[in-house]
């Protein structure tokens, strides 16, 4: 792309932006990260920490997730601070026969791509996770599913970037982007202008707003995920759990029409349980709703009845950057030159952050990537529009 070391501005101090900054700075690039609030003050600070592999669609999506998991093994040792990465293994819980049937097909697809997902009956599932309710019909198990502390991860990426020479500037609002000769030339903010050769749009749910500044229309919209946090307690959960509805809601629209969007559960290293998550389109409204909280609690306590005794100490909601095909938008756009997308991961931001950062850094610094980014190009949506 650019022969000398380009000046790079990353917009967004969430897990994606800081990951990109980390991988760029480690290669000696000149990086400035701009964040409108504090680091991890958006969706990355308001989500769970699941790195769920078995829930990814077989194909390039799964390939990304597996590559990301490999990077976690290194990051866990390299990043400053303790990111609380743990390969706990994950289970997908079925509550009905219909879910069981839907998941059998799903597992076959996963196994065909070499993902060693095993099917457990009720007793086997209860043996692995003793607090599960006896009414469940079974579960799938994948040993490589993992968890991490998303805030610690974001801060770890940012600190590492900083230690490698990146500038991390918070409380700075991007107001506009200047283009000269069909190339980005500077980012205008409320704290002054930043001249740059490359701009990386890692603004999460706000990515559409940033893209609009260079005249690009991208289909990223905020999707609200509410999460319930319990008090810290002794270990109750050994694994990360999601209900089959969670996958159904993503891939099997017929099952998703049933009540509830499917839930996820994990116990953090600190002992708190994170129970999530709703998937609602409510604009940029980050409020929790009594209905959303109640729905999460109804579903999670049904699967782990022991939870009823625990106290809710907090609820929060994050705006996941949703795209119509559930895949992120990654890579250079056609026009203007130097404008790079790294957003739209919806609920996969934590799982895919390391690989996203690595691939984007590779693309900018070498022009080549380990995994091709074609499937994630922004023009896939324009192409779809033209064909329909």
């Amino acid at each position: 792309m650019v022969s000398h070391m380009p000046a790079i501005v990353v917009i967004g101090g969430g897990v994606i932006g800081t990951s990109v900054a980390h991988y760029l700075a480690c290669k000696g690039a000149k990086v400035t990260l701009l964040e409108k609030g504090d680091l991890a003050s958006g969706s990355s600070g308001a989500c769970d920490g699941l790195i769920f592999i078995q829930s990814k669609k077989p194909g390039v999506h799964l390939q990304l997730a597996l590559a990301s998991l490999e990077l976690y093994e290194e990051l866990y040792k390299e990043l400053p601070g303790h990111i609380e990465f743990k390969k706990s293994g994950g289970m997908v819980i079925f509550e009905t026969d219909a879910e069981f049937e839907a998941m059998c097909g799903y597992i076959q697809d996963q196994q065909a791509t070499g993902i060693d997902v095993s099917l457990l009956n009720t007793n086997q599932a209860l043996k692995k996770e003793p607090y599960l309710s006896k009414h469940i019909k079974g579960a799938t198990f994948f040993p490589l599913d993992a968890q991490v502390n998303p805030i610690a991860l974001t801060l770890g990426f940012a600190l590492s970037a900083k230690q490698n020479g990146a500038r991390i500037i918070t409380r700075t609002i991007v107001k506009g982007i200047k283009i000269q000769n069909n190339r980005v030339s500077s980012v205008q903010t409320d704290q002054g202008d930043f001249n740059t050769d490359v701009i990386i749009n890692a603004a999460g749910a706000n990515a559409s707003e940033i893209a609009a500044m260079v005249g690009i229309n991208i289909p990223i919209t905020p999707r609200r995920g509410q999460i319930v946090v319990t008090q810290a307690v002794k270990p109750i959960l050994k694994h990360c759990l999601i209900s089959a509805k969670y996958i159904a809601a993503k891939y099997h629209p017929a099952l998703a029409k049933e009540k509830g969007e499917g839930i996820s559960m994990e116990q953090t290293q600190n002992g708190n349980l994170l129970l999530g998550s709703t998937r609602e389109f409510a604009g940029f409204n980050k409020q929790n709703t009594p209905e959303g909280i109640t729905r999460i609690i109804e579903q999670t306590t049904r699967i782990i009845p022991e939870l009823k005794k625990l106290h809710v100490i907090r609820t929060f909601a994050g705006l996941r950057p949703y795209t119509p095909d559930s895949l992120p938008i990654l890579g250079q756009v056609d026009h203007p030159k130097g404008f790079v997308m790294a957003a739209g991961h919806e609920g996969d931001g934590i799982a895919l952050a390391p690989i996203t950062g690595k691939l984007i850094a590779q693309m900018i610094l070498t022009g080549k990537t380990d995994i091709p980014l074609d499937a994630f190009a922004v023009d896939r949506f324009q192409l779809q529009k033209e064909t329909t």
Binding site: D38, I151, P290, I297, T301, K308, H311, T315
Partner: protein, 481 residues
Amino acid sequence: MTSWDLKVLKSKYHIIIIGCGFAGLAAADILTRYNLDVLIIDENPHLGGQLLRKISTLKQTKKKFELDPIKKIGFELARSIAGQNIDILYTTQVLGLFPDHRILMVDHSEKIVECQGDFIICATGAREKYLPFKGWTIPGVMSTGAAQILMKSSGVLPAKTTLVGGTGPLQLALAAAILQNKGRVSAVLDQQNFKDKFGILHLWQHNLPKIIEGAIYLSRLFLQGTPIRQRTGIAEAIGKNQLEKVVTAQLDDQNGFIQGTERIYNTHALAVGYGFTPNIELPIQAGCDIKFDKKKGGWIVCVNEDTMETSLSAFFAVGEITGIAGAKKSYIEGRIAAWSILNQMELVNGSKNKANLRLLYYQRQHQIEYGAFLNAMCNVSDSAYQSIDDDTIICRCEEITMGDIRKTITDGFLTVNSIKKTTRCGMGLCQGRICGPVLFDILSGITHGHPGQIGEPSVRSPIKTVPLGAFLRANNKTEMK
């Protein structure tokens, strides 16, 4: 009707009063005269808030002489309102306010209940502030308020001998009360200059009962020979499972401890107080605008001072949450809110209402002046926060120390929220109720940042913790499994 039985709870009320201390009582007193559906929600098992904590036992004991007429008014109001035909939910905790004025709460049986109000009056009062010192988490170290509650509610002394410290005029009241209950006070320590307290003499016209009360307390201490040590702070509390001794020292101009001035008190109880912070969690969660005003006690709810309406329509804030100033201001603001609501409902004659309000505005001004004096008395200087020892625990729930916070500040995290995320300070079971304001003061003391930069407190529902099971016992659910 006074009720513990939620079957009588209506789904909708004209007015819901949240918190029924002096401000809530004053509003209820007026509103109940107009044949409206009024609901009072209070987390205590009695009306009257902190000042009238003893009301339940008072019914049986003979009438006690109260020097300050405001207390007498309060007792009478609480009795009369508890006997009226309105709904009262005692021991009920509001969890949050949601769009359309829906209030979610958890009752005494840990069941979630919901109801709606056309108008809401939030009168949630204040709580004590803390200045952490080494050993402040040892059992036996308590707040001034906790010591008072022990004596008022349970008739128990904190210990045979109590050391009283902190800032503000309340230590005097506590020390005098301990002496009156035949306890002993080893000393009263004051971070500030004692003579500053005489500043209230300038406000004598409107605060005579308080001045007389202060004089009585002082004379009681004097008669017992209790020393009052000014410009003296607590260096360390020592003890394994129970407080054994307290090291104190005089403070220099920078609020550092002066070497060689240490004293050691052998005591099992240390009561400390550093003023108050408004309970603005519900207004913040609901989405009201807040602002920082040091003279008024820190972060407070923004209101239209003529009506007490907040930035949320038909949501009123009264009492300590609009500025710490004690019971009288609360009483006045409760009445202002009540008249404003009646005016909006077109139930009162406009000109008569204006006359009512004018008098109240006038009375309130004097109480705001008294509040400014009170808050200045309780003020802990920036340097006191700077000199907190690295080993001192700041967040009790998550055991985060001053050293952890200092390191994070050095790393460039300068806002309450970023430090919370980095260290977990304030993420524990108390939801940051104790350490939240402390962390703000530490940051403000160390960075001298603007309050808006350091960061507004952020609050999410549930405002207090509640078992998950409570959501399953909700009374308005039809499709429960």
